[in-house]
């Protein structure tokens, strides 16, 4: 589960190569007085730091994903038979739903185990089990999240652009609004993006989404009509609603606000100070590092940021928050 730490992550490599091939200037956030030599040198320094933080043991994510999924599953019978109080179930299940996205997010970027690794199965397994609490298959999460990275903050091509809102309370409202049956947000937008992509992966994602959603709804209906409606509500339905809002707010709105026009490399995401702290905001305070180098595991982005900070400041990145 330890991959070569010197291997650059594919997305930042792709961006770097494209810029080199185009012969265009490397995009800057603010300070465009830097000459090309300085910019390339800064990028090399940035990538050298990033390489130090990529890879490393990822067993913690595997244990967290499988353990969390097991606890989440166990809550169903434990709540149905009155062993665990519904309110405790609601809190624990919501936490596990949010935490599941964090572990799945690593799998989306192949950070648990790269393609070709003998532990590749673990990457797939973590991805598959982690997203079930939000009733979305790994395939859909992965396809759309990688599109988000490729077209970050593009109004039509970024599947997460619909989370944009003018302020924090509108952002929370939007997380709920985007889940309405015929509103073009979250899963509806994801389906549209997958249909437009029309690749083998996106077609599989659409089919699996349909299956997972049918299983989710059939489970709720069956439990409800057999006398376990409250258990179904606190195990899956409410945690999914609350968890999705929390995930959309901290993983999509807060690190990318404001989105309009912020498509260049160093302005795609922010460095910000969260009121609930680094851990409870899912390490999103340093989300820019994730967009620059997705191969850096989530728990290392803060340390990588602190080492990269002088370079980012020279790039014109606003690092005043942390």
């Amino acid at each position: 589960m330890t991959d070569n730490p010197s291997t650059p992550d594919t997305i930042s490599q792709e961006v770097f190569d494209r810029q080199e091939a185009d012969g265009s200037a490397l995009p800057l956030a603010a300070d465009d007085r830097l000459d090309r030599h300085t910019r390339v040198d800064l990028l090399k320094q940035e990538r050298a730091i990033a390489a130090k933080y990529q890879g490393g043991p990822m067993w913690g994510y595997v244990v967290a994903a499988l353990g969390g999924f097991a606890v989440w599953l166990a809550l169903f019978p434990l709540t149905m038979f009155g062993v665990v109080h519904p309110l405790i179930t609601l809190v624990v299940s919501t936490f596990l739903t949010v935490a599941g996205y964090v572990t799945c997010h690593e799998a989306m970027h192949d950070n648990i185990a790269k393609r070709g690794s003998r532990y590749r199965w673990a990457n797939q397994l973590v991805g598959e089990v982690s997203l079930l609490p939000i009733a979305v298959p790994f395939s859909m999460g992965r396809v759309t999240h990688l599109e988000h990275h490729k077209h970050c903050n593009h109004p039509e091509k970024d599947p997460d652009y619909t989370d944009e809102a003018p302020n924090w309370w509108m952002a929370w409202y939007k997380t709920w609004w985007n889940r309405q049956p015929r509103v073009d947000g979250t899963i509806n937008r994801y389906k549209t993006v997958c249909m437009a992509l029309d690749t083998r992966e996106s077609r599989i994602a659409l089919k699996q989404t349909m299956v997972v959603q049918l299983i989710y709804l059939a489970t709720l209906f069956t439990m409800a009509w057999n006398g376990y409606a409250i258990a179904a509500a606190v195990c899956w339905w409410l945690p999914r609603q609350l968890g999705l809002s929390y995930i959309r707010y901290f993983l999509s709105w807060a690190p990318h606000h404001p989105r309009e026009g912020q498509t260049e490399r160093y302005v795609q995401a922010n460095i910000f100070k969260s009121h609930v702290g680094h851990f409870l905001s899912m390490c999103m305070e340093t989300h820019l590092i994730h967009h620059l180098h997705p191969g850096i595991p989530n728990h290392k982005t803060r340390a990588a940021y602190l080492e990269m900070k002088p370079i980012l400041e020279k790039r014109g990145v606003d690092c005043s928050a942390l």
Binding site: W177, Q180, P181, R182, V183, M210, Q213, L214, L217, L220, F221, A224, W225, G227, A229, I230, A232, A233, W237
Partner: protein, 66 residues
């Protein structure tokens, strides 16, 4: 293809199905837990079906729950 059309039709009326499949029994069971009586001698599940069914129908037609 026929399967896909059938599933699309099913999802088109899913808010209504959700109303009678989940909201209705949730209302009835919540009333039982909190000891609430349904008005006009109605059974809790009848009240649940009335609220869940009409709310789900509204969401199906409008495309949003509120």
């Amino acid at each position: 293809m026929a399967m896909q059309v059938a599933v699309e039709k099913l999802f088109a009326i899913m808010p209504f199905l959700f109303g009678i499949g989940f909201i209705a029994p949730l209302i009835a069971q919540s009333m039982a837990v909190w000891g609430w009586e349904a008005p006009s001698g109605m059974s809790p599940i009848m009240l649940g079906l009335l609220i869940g069914g009409s709310w789900g129908l509204y969401a199906t037609i409008r495309g949003r729950w509120i």
